[in-house]
Amino acid sequence: MKNRPTTLLLLLPAALLVGLLFVLPILGVLSLSVYGDSGFTLGPIRELVGSRVSLVVLERTFWQALTVSVICVVLGYPAAFFMSGLSTKLRAYLVYLILLPFWISILVRTYTWIIILGREGIINRTLAAFGFSPVQILYTDLAVRIAMVQILLPIVVLTCLASMLDIDKGLVKTARSLGATPTQAFVKVFLPLSLSGAATGGIICFILCLGFYVTPALLGGRRSILISNLIDIQVHQSLNWGFAAALATALLIITLACLALFRLLTRGRTEFSSLGVGR
């Protein structure tokens, strides 16, 4: 990379945009958590640490994000693997299909789940037809989780697929010629080389989960709200901006901490060297 002033200049528009529209507002919000009407204060932070509700919601948000990401990777990786073996044409059709849900608003997709999971919904009616008693899925963490997986799965599939298509298929053949069975070739060559893609997908998924708002608001009960919903309540109902800012700060710190942890765990693993966060 050349670092001449002229090439740095090319970075300027993007840097300005990010600076003005992203970094400044964030700093503003973050500062709200330590600056009140009467100057510097630790009030909101003290309030946060003392608030059982906030801690429970934070923990729940973290758990939801983790489980949803793991489920997405577990479901998405094999799907991507299957797609990586198809002909280019067939694969293109499948990618269209996978992207199809993005044409429909998240709101609509979320409401659809109410029809499926509700008390009079498809699942419960089917159960009733077989003589089972209805189950409560809607307005639980499970409903939120199911809908989040549905929304995020395409992203994980496509991230995994991109990294798999980058793998030189000749390497698997090479492994076979060197004495590896098809399973061994997968485990020893393909899997390690596609792991970074799976990890990237998982991390993107995790970070997106932390910010989910509509889904928990519509499908979760009062006991399944996530941090975004709590922040919303603080801003719109309690009008407690300082507390909302403290929650946002906590969310940001958790996100960064998770990235740092991942970086630590994969340090020196060459599988992740292509991933910015791996080294």
Binding site: D168, G170, K173, T174, S177, G179, Q184
Partner: protein, 349 residues
């Protein structure tokens, strides 16, 4: 380590992709411990032939035998064939030692043994000091050596190499050729080597097969193919050659374009096809011969190569060894040339 090479037999192997024929009645016997080369232009089916032996390609018909046993139903990983690929194909997530150890790991060899044998293989290719390096930290020549070490570490009886030196520069390529040949002679494994470089093929091979469009055009020792090419294709592919059309015959010789009547060393004089003669088998003569004018003189160090034109318009290249201090002829000089009669070859096609 010494292994007994395996004998390999291709029996009328045919491979088609849709309507396209990549390999046609490909038959070839490779003796145990022999160094066989497949030589041919790009797209002539060399890789297809290697891949069908290695198990990457299912052949359409025919059979391949190793030591007399058909490998049709033997999966790739059980064929025990070492293979070196043109693009090296090193595992990017494993270091040099990890790459070389791979075949041994797959065979369930014990840890200590793996390390010992892998390091020994690296010793052979003189890369002992680089065991911990990652592939992307290696030069092209070093990658090539790692790929070679990985292909021989499990002591396969057959070693396949698909243009292994294609990506290296000339000097390195020549050095590696010698090393490959030395290694093969020491170990005794059977080698099938693919190249499109005729010089490399002549240097390395016990025998070579010249391929074109999925067919073997000629198979023989380097000397056979150099001295007695059976077709214009082979004659042009191997070494420098003068090839001139024959347009008829008389009782005492063939009528060759631009040269007149030329007598072949055979009983019956050909009436069509081509005359082929190597540059080193054309001489300058003080008397008689065919008058010609020097068009170009190229100084080659130990020899001078002249491009001359005969009075009737045939263009010929001749090579003359340099002896003493004599300077080469200037373009425009008038000379007379004659052929070493028993080195004249008739190419039917």
């Amino acid at each position: 380590m010494v292994v007994n090479g395996a004998a390999i037999e291709f029996k009328k192997v045919r491979k088609t992709y849709g309507n396209f024929v990549a390999l046609e009645s490909f038959s070839m016997n490779v003796a145990a411990g022999e160094f066989m080369t497949l030589l041919g232009p790009s797209g002539s089916g060399k890789t297809t032939a290697l891949n069908s032996l290695a198990g990457f390609t299912d052949i359409t018909s025919g059979d391949i035998l190793i030591d007399g046993v058909s490998i049709a139903r033997v999966p790739t990983e059980k064929r025990n064939i070492g293979m070196v690929f043109q693009n090296y194909s090193l595992f990017p997530h494993r270091n040099v030692l990890g790459n070389v150890a791979f075949p041994l790991e797959m065979r369930g060899v014990g840890r200590a043994e793996i390390r010992k044998r892998s390091l020994k293989a690296l010793e052979i290719v003189r890369l002992g000091g680089l065991a911990e390096r990652m592939p992307h930290e290696l030069s092209g020549g070093q990658k090539q050596r790692v790929a070679f070490a990985r292909a021989i570490v499990f002591e396969p009886r057959v070693l396949l190499m698909d243009e292994p030196l294609g990506a290296l520069d000339l000097k390195l390529r020549e050095a590696m050729q010698l090393e490959i040949k030395q290694y093969q002679q020491q170990i005794g494994c059977t080698v099938i080597y693919v190249t499109h470089d005729q010089g490399e093929a002549l240097t390395l091979s016990d025998r070579l097969a010249v391929m074109d469009k999925g067919l073997i055009r000629q198979l023989g020792t380097p000397q056979d193919l150099y001295d007695r090419p059976n077709s214009r294709f082979v004659a042009e592919f191997i070494g420098l050659n003068n090839i001139i059309k024959i347009s008829g015959s008389k009782h005492d010789g063939a009528i060759v374009d631009g040269l007149g009547v030329i007598r072949f060393p055979s009983e019956i004089q050909p009436s069509q096809g081509y005359l082929s003669v190597r540059p080193e088998h054309i001489r300058r003569t003080p008397t008689g011969g065919h008058p010609a004018i020097v068009r170009q003189a190229v100084f080659l160090g130990d020899a001078v190569r002249y491009v001359v034109e005969t009075r009737n318009g045939a263009e010929l290249t001749l090579a003359e060894p340099r002896s003493g201090e004599n300077s080469s002829l200037d373009p425009g000089s008038e000379i007379a040339i004659s052929f070493e009669e028993n080195r004249l070859i008739h190419l039917p096609e």
